[in-house]
Symmetry: C2
Subunit: 224 residues, 2 copies
DNA sequence: GGATGTGAACGACTTCACAGCG
DNA sequence: CGCTGTGAAGTCGTTCACATCC
């Protein structure tokens, strides 16, 4: 921990702010030179939020900026990674080798950010034993033991909705700490297990909602 | 439109509320009997929000409940579908036949909710002509013409991040009204085109953020 | 000068508590 | 009596505006 401000300040990173921090981090890693400073308005322009918003979010991480200058990209990236908890590697299992599961396994974005998928599970006999991205698909009954002995902390759940709750229960019994759920159900978990649900149908419905209500908006009036 | 309250009331459905309406709708379609009434607290328990929240959200759709009784599931479902804009069919194109694109094409949840995927596009010669779920993969240069002539309103974007903005631009030129974007980039669109971005890496980072900050929470103290 | 950090105003959303009605 | 609908209060998040510091 450096002598600059740490997260021990009086401010907290809200859940909404955490989403934005991920975006800021992308912008920082794409920043041309590590030496060159970056300002809140530059980040804001890249991510599509207000500069005041960026400053508020970053101030919650400590005193990282230099007045009149801006922020140092490397230092800022480190602070954001620490705030998000991605300064270290997380061991992850994926349960459910359907189309979506395969897509996520092949998605390189996870590995790049320090997520290590250590095992893959499915119930279907035809899939068990198959190798995907160097990982052998294991039978579901091995799930609990694997999570416990391998020290797995996170799970990606891409099983059919009928199976989701029972698999989640098994994960909880095995001591999982967080679940990224893609099944279109409301999972019941104990409070000490964190949950993020990504529901694709709901996102598409959100889009139709926006389109339907965008009828009355004023024309662009673009003045650039 | 029935004689019961419609969306012409003084209240608006907020974006946050729209997300929940999707969940309420799921709960309603799974409700055992269409004849039996359903109460705000029953919906709340199923979805995991407060009953006051449910009543607020539903009140924004008009006077649909009966005091002392509850809501009629069929009528409520209809009102929610109308509010979300899914009371009709939407014509959709999918661009980018990678693993994720294939997964979404095979995902039955979309078709069930009235989303009709009318065409699929990719740039890669080896993929063009291939049939997926009854749809022939078309070359990207046909995209604009197809969207225009087929009256397509929505697009699902599952292309690599390098291609996302240029494909989005083509969609905008063709008159698209909304884009569901899975590429990990911040798309620039005119204000009259709606955008929902689903960023898988960010969701996983959100999860590590929650896990990391859940250390200090009080133990469950489950009193059931 | 220029950009940060932050009190204060503002706005959006949620919860409370209860009046109102079937 | 039970459940909805809704003012009022409360909470959370965002924007404004400017003092502060390099």
């Amino acid at each position: 921990m450096s002598d600059r401000g740490a997260a021990s300040e009086g401010m907290r990173v809200s859940r909404a702010a955490a989403q934005r921090l991920s975006l800021y981090l992308r912008c920082l890693t794409a920043w041309p030179s590590d030496a060159e400073k970056i300002s809140s308005s530059q980040i804001a322009a890249a991510v599509g939020v207000s500069d005041a918003q960026v400053r508020r979010d970053l101030a919650a991480l400590g005193h990282l900026g230099q007045r009149g200058i801006g922020y140092e990209p490397r230092e800022l990236a480190t602070a954001i990674r620490e705030a998000l908890g991605i300064h270290r590697t997380w061991r992850v299992v994926l349960v459910g080798v359907g189309n979506l599961g395969r897509a996520l396994l092949r998605y390189q974005g996870f590995r790049a950010q320090g997520f290590q998928i250590v095992a893959v599970f499915d119930n279907q006999p035809t899939k068990i034993g198959e190798c995907i991205e160097g990982l052998r698909v294991r039978p579901l009954h091995e799930l609990e033991a694997t999570v416990t002995t391998e020290g797995v902390e996170l799970a990606i759940l891409t099983v059919p909705k009928e199976a989701a709750q029972s698999v989640a229960d098994a994960l909880v019994r095995a001591g999982i700490r967080g679940i990224l759920n893609f099944a279109p159900v409301v999972l019941r978990l104990p409070q000490h297990v964190q949950l993020v649900t990504v529901d694709l149908a709901i996102q598409l419905e959100q889009l139709t909602f926006l389109v339907q209500h965008a009828n009355g908006v004023a024309p662009p009036a673009f003045n650039g």
